[in-house]
């Protein structure tokens, strides 16, 4: 378990929509398939994905994701920002790809456990 603020700082994430940095992240999931997110993503988690699409927010909300990181610094469409805003989800971007960011965060959790 770790705080979102910690991840933002050490992984150099860019905040797009963040209501509250001091939230607990209890799990991590890397996927670009919404059906997978729906089926397997842990609750109160951070989702690493390339899917910069409003549907991602919809699915994330359903399974209880707390923060979404869009990789490759991909532009976030307004529709997605609006929905994140409305659903109270943290939305961030990273210049890393899925593997690199997962490893970075994996390294952090190591140190914290």
């Amino acid at each position: 378990m770790m705080e979102l603020s910690q991840i933002i700082r050490t992984c150099n994430l860019k905040s797009v929509v963040v209501h509250e940095e001091e939230i607990e992240i209890k799990g991590f999931y890397t996927s670009d398939l919404l059906s997978d997110v729906m089926a397997h993503c842990p609750e109160e988690s951070l989702l690493i994905t390339v899917q910069n699409h409003a549907n991602t927010i919809a699915v994330a909300t359903l399974v209880g994701v707390r923060a979404i990181v869009i990789v490759h610094n991909r532009a976030v469409p307004d529709e997605m920002k609006l929905l994140a805003e409305r659903e109270g989800l943290a939305l961030l971007t990273s210049s890393d790809d899925q593997f690199t960011l997962s490893c970075r965060i994996g390294g952090l959790t190591d140190n914290f456990e």
Binding site: L33, L34, S35, V50, N52, N55, R74, A75, P77
Partner: protein, 329 residues
């Protein structure tokens, strides 16, 4: 003119049966497909009806031909042959107008007859050449055996090149840089089972030919993205792979539905793909961006309602300058 199909001769010209069974199928197909107009010489040396035979004689001498057609206002009237000239010289009437001595009982060919007709005529009549007329009875060309041989040779060479490019993986030309390929792959809408096969095949061939890996990758990425776009977004289309002298061109062409806003579609992340397409691993809106990135030349034309054509060109280095080919993969 007489219909050769009705002359009671058992060999039916224009049908498969008139060709000996041991003739290669490619040739049979060719002489059925090619028309007389495809092989005839149309830059005609001809004389007018009232021209003296002397004019025909000098034409024959200058052009090294053995027969000159005679016409009047474009209409074909007859033929003056070397024989006619010899007789005219002997008989001292070389200054007579051509129409007085030309042969008029002539066998002519029509320009839209298949080549098989022409071949049959050569066998049957033993003339060196046949005048060719069109439907309006106008003289449009002349055909001699040599014209046919040349046309068949050209066709055969092209056919051979095509076959070679099809079985390109089975033979090894000395320099892959000189490899010539023209292949078309039909791509059906939503046929995810087969989509991508063409790109895989193209990559495999280029790799076997030991092209530089970096270039192979660029061609393959463009081909795959365009092939998948045909499958996902179009009503079906054709992916064309052209290659000669190290210039590799991949073209995706379809006839619908077209793109509303091409500029928007070419921008990173923009996609009209719906959720089930995304669940198949497509629709990130990165495809055209990828094609642009890997291509040396990129062109897209689209019109809603009429279709889309995307062309990507990759220039491949000649083999001698490549050092990466020893790498694995």
């Amino acid at each position: 003119m007489a219909d050769p199909l009705k002359n009671g001769d058992s060999g039916l010209a224009g049908t498969r049966e008139d060709v000996p069974a041991n003739e290669p199928l490619i040739l049979i197909e060719m002489i059925q497909r090619l028309k007389v107009r495809d092989v005839m010489t149309s830059e005609l040396a001809a004389v007018e009806r009232t021209d003296p035979l002397r004019v025909a004689q000098s034409l024959m001498k200058n052009k090294k031909i053995s027969g000159v057609p005679v016409k009047e206002g474009g209409r074909f009237l007859g033929l003056v042959s070397i024989n006619d000239i010899i007789q005219a010289l002997e008989g001292g009437y070389i200054d007579d107008p051509c129409h007085k001595h030309m042969s008029t009982k002539l066998v002519v060919l029509e320009d839209d007859m298949p080549l098989s007709f022409a071949l049959r005529y050569f066998n049957k009549y033993h003339y060196g050449r046949f005048p060719v007329i069109n439907r309006e009875q106008q003289l449009v060309g002349i055909v001699c055996q040599r014209d046919i041989n040349r046309a068949l040779l050209i066709e055969l060479t092209q056919e051979f090149n095509r076959l070679e490019s099809e079985s390109v993986s089975h033979c090894v030309p000395e320099d892959p840089f000189n490899l010539y390929v023209l292949r078309e792959f039909p791509v059906a809408k939503y046929d995810f089972e087969n989509a991508g096969k063409a790109a895989n095949m193209i990559r495999k061939v280029l790799k076997e030919k030991k092209f530089p890996l970096k270039d192979i990758r660029r061609v393959a990425v463009a081909a795959y993205e365009l092939e998948i776009n045909l499958c996902v977004h179009s009503d079906g289309g054709v992916l064309t792979w052209r290659m000669s002298k190290g210039r590799v061109e991949i073209t995706a062409s379809d006839s619908g539905p077209g793109i509303e806003d091409v500029e928007w579609a070419c921008k990173d992340g923009n996609s009209t793909a719906i959720e089930w397409i995304r669940s198949l691993g497509f629709g990130a809106g990165m495809g055209l961006v990828n094609v642009k990135r890997v291509a040396d030349e990129f062109e897209i034309h689209s019109k809603p309602g009429s279709g889309t054509t995307v062309r990507a060109v990759v220039f491949v280095e000649p083999r001698s300058t490549d050092h990466r080919q020893h790498d694995q993969n």
